[in-house]
C-alpha cells in the first residue's frame, strides 16, 4: 500500500527519516509552512523559507523517491507579529502561484486574537483568488471554541467548505467539522495530539468520508511514520483495506488535487530525464544512503 502524509514538516527532519519513510511506503508528502519554534524577525526569513519549500526540500525528498509539495501562509502565531505579518502576507501573491504550492496553509487560530482573525480571513480570500484549497490549523488550547470559530469564519466569508481541510481534530471537534462540508484532518502525534487507537475508534464511528490523517512530524518529539503505523492499527482493528486506502491515499489526493497542481503521475523523484542516466545524486561527493535499504554498487552508474 502506498501512503501520503499531507502534513509533515520535513525541513526539521533528517535523511534518516526520509529513508525510513520511503522504506515504509510513503510516496508523497505535503509540507505546510509553519512557525520554526522561535519567532522570525525579518520578512526575508520567511521568503527564504518559502523558497526552500519550493526548491531545496523537494529536491531532498526526491533523493528518497518521495514527491514533495507544500502549502504557504502567514501562520497563526506569527500573524500576531506586526514587524513581519503584512510583509509576509504581501509575499504570498507570487509564491502561491508556484507549481509546488497546493494550498494556503497553515492558517487559522492560535489564541484567537484580532490580528489572527484578520489574517485568517484575508488568507481565505487569497485562497479564493488563487483558486487554492486551505489547510486550517485548530488551536491546541481552547480547541473546541477555536474550531467553532474557524468553521463560522469559513461560512461567513463564503469560502467553499469542500475546499477547507480542518486539521488536528479530536473526538470533540470531529463531529462539528463533519456536520459542515469541510474535510477533517487528524495529526497522529505522540503525547499532545491524537494516537493510533483513538483514530481507529474515530474511523469506526464516523467512517472514511472526508477523513484524512497525518503525522504533523516536526522539530518536536514526533514520528514521521505515523501514517503507515496508523494504517497498521486500522488493519489490526478490522478496518477494510479499501477504507484504509481511502484515508491514507485517495482522500488526501482528492482534497489537494483541487489545487490543480498535485502532479502525482510520476511518483518517482522529480528528476528530469536528462540526468537519470547519471545515477543517483551524490550530494557531497560521497554516495547517498541507498533508497529503501537496498544496497547499491559503490560509485555512480553511467549507463
Amino acid at each position: 500500500m502506498r501512503y501520503f502524509d499531507p502534513h509533515i514538516h520535513m525541513t526539521s527532519r533528517t535523511t534518516d527519516d526520509y529513508a525510513a519513510m520511503r522504506q515504509a511506503g510513503i510516496e508523497a508528502v505535503i509540507e505546510p509552512s509553519f512557525w520554526l519554534g522561535q519567532p522570525r524577525t525579518h520578512v526575508g526569513t520567511f521568503e527564504d523559507y518559502f523558497r526552500s519549500l519550493i526548491g531545496w526540500e523537494p529536491f531532498r525528498a526526491g533523493q528518497f523517491g518521495i514527491r514533495h509539495f507544500c502549502t504557504l501562509s502567514l501562520n497563526p502565531k506569527e500573524a500576531n507579529n506586526p514587524v513581519v505579518a503584512q510583509g509576509v502576507f504581501d509575499l504570498l501573491s507570487i509564491y502561491l502561484q508556484k507549481d509546488a504550492v497546493v494550498a494556503v496553509g497553515e492558517i487559522g487560530y492560535d489564541e484567537m486574537t484580532p490580528d489572527e482573525d484578520r489574517y485568517f480571513q484575508l488568507q481565505l480570500e487569497l485562497a479564493q483568488r488563487f483558486d487554492l484549497p486551505v489547510l486550517v490549523h485548530t488551536p491546541h488550547r481552547d480547541k473546541k471554541r477555536g474550531t467553532e470559530r474557524s468553521l463560522a469564519l469559513i461560512r461567513a466569508t463564503g469560502f467553499p467548505e469542500a475546499r477547507a481541510l480542518i486539521d488536528h481534530n479530536t473526538e470533540e471537534t470531529l463531529p462539528l467539522v463533519l456536520d459542515t462540508g469541510c474535510w477533517a484532518g487528524h495529526s497522529i502525534y505522540p503525547n499532545t495530539k491524537m494516537d493510533e487507537l483513538r483514530m481507529v475508534a474515530l474511523v469506526r464511528r464516523f467512517g472514511t468520508e472526508r477523513m484524512i490523517i497525518n503525522s504533523a512530524a516536526d522539530w518536536g518529539v514526533s514520528d514521521p511514520l505515523k501514517v503507515p503505523k496508523t494504517a497498521e492499527a486500522m488493519r489490526a482493528g478490522g478496518i477494510r483495506e479499501e477504507d484504509i486506502e481511502s484515508i491514507v491515499w485517495r482522500n488526501p489526493v482528492t482534497f489537494f488535487s483541487q489545487s490543480g497542481k498535485l502532479d502525482l503521475c510520476n511518483v518517482e523523484p522529480a528528476i528530469d530525464h536528462t540526468r537519470l542516466w547519471e545515477g543517483n545524486s551524490v550530494l557531497r561527493g560521497q554516495t547517498t544512503a541507498p533508497i529503501g535499504g537496498t544496497p547499491t554498487a559503490e560509485g555512480t552508474s553511467r549507463t
Binding site: E47, I94, K261, I271, T274, V282, R284
Partner: protein, 226 residues
Amino acid sequence: MIDSSDLARFLNTCVQGPMPDFFHPHDHKKNRTVEKTWDEQSFRESFAGASRRFGRAPLFLSDHDRSELNRLGVTWTPAATRDELGRIAMLVAAASRAPQALFQSVLRRCYDEGDTRERRSILRALSLLPSAERFVPLALEACRSHLQPLFEAIACDNPYPSRYFPNPPMNHLVLKALSLGTALDRIIGLEQRMTPELRRMAADYVSERQAAGGSIHPDVWLVLRD
C-alpha cells in the same frame, strides 16, 4: 553573437503553447510592432506558471529545428523539456525588448524567487542573452548549489562556463563534475579550458580517492592526459 530578436521569433515557433501576448513581436492585425509597457508582475507570474502552460514533456527538436538553431548560433541543445524551452523563449524575447538594466533585475528576481524548474531554465538561457557576461555571478552561484539539477543546468550541455568563467571557478566546476559522476564530455568547451592547475586538482582528486579506496571517475583521464 546571437541576435535576440531572430532567436525570439524562432523560439516562439518551436514553443507549442500559447505565449503571453506581450511577447509577440508583431501585431498581425495592424501589421506593426506593438509597443507594450513592461509589466514586471505579469512577467513574473507568467514565468512561474509556464510549466502548467507549456507542459513538462521532454522536448524533441526536429532536424529542421536543429539546423535553424545552428544557423542562429545555437549549436547545443538549449532545453530538455517543453516548459524549459518556453521559459527560455520568454527570457530571450524579454531581453530583446525590455530596457537592459530592467531585464537584468527581473531575471535576477525570477531566479531568486523561482523553483528549480524556473532556475534551470534561466541558467540554460544565459548564453542566449545579450551581454551574457553580466550573469557570471548568478552562474557561479548555481555552481555552488547542492541541488544537482541546478549544477547540471549550468555545467552540462551549456557553453556558458567555458566562455565566461574565470579559471578558478571553471576548475571547481570540473572537480564537482568528477565528484558527482557527471560525464565530462557534457562540459562544452572543456578542451579549451585545460590548465596546469586543473590537472593538479584532478591528480589530487585521484590520489584522494585512491587513499580512501573509493571509485575514480573514469573521465578524469581526459583531464590528466598530456
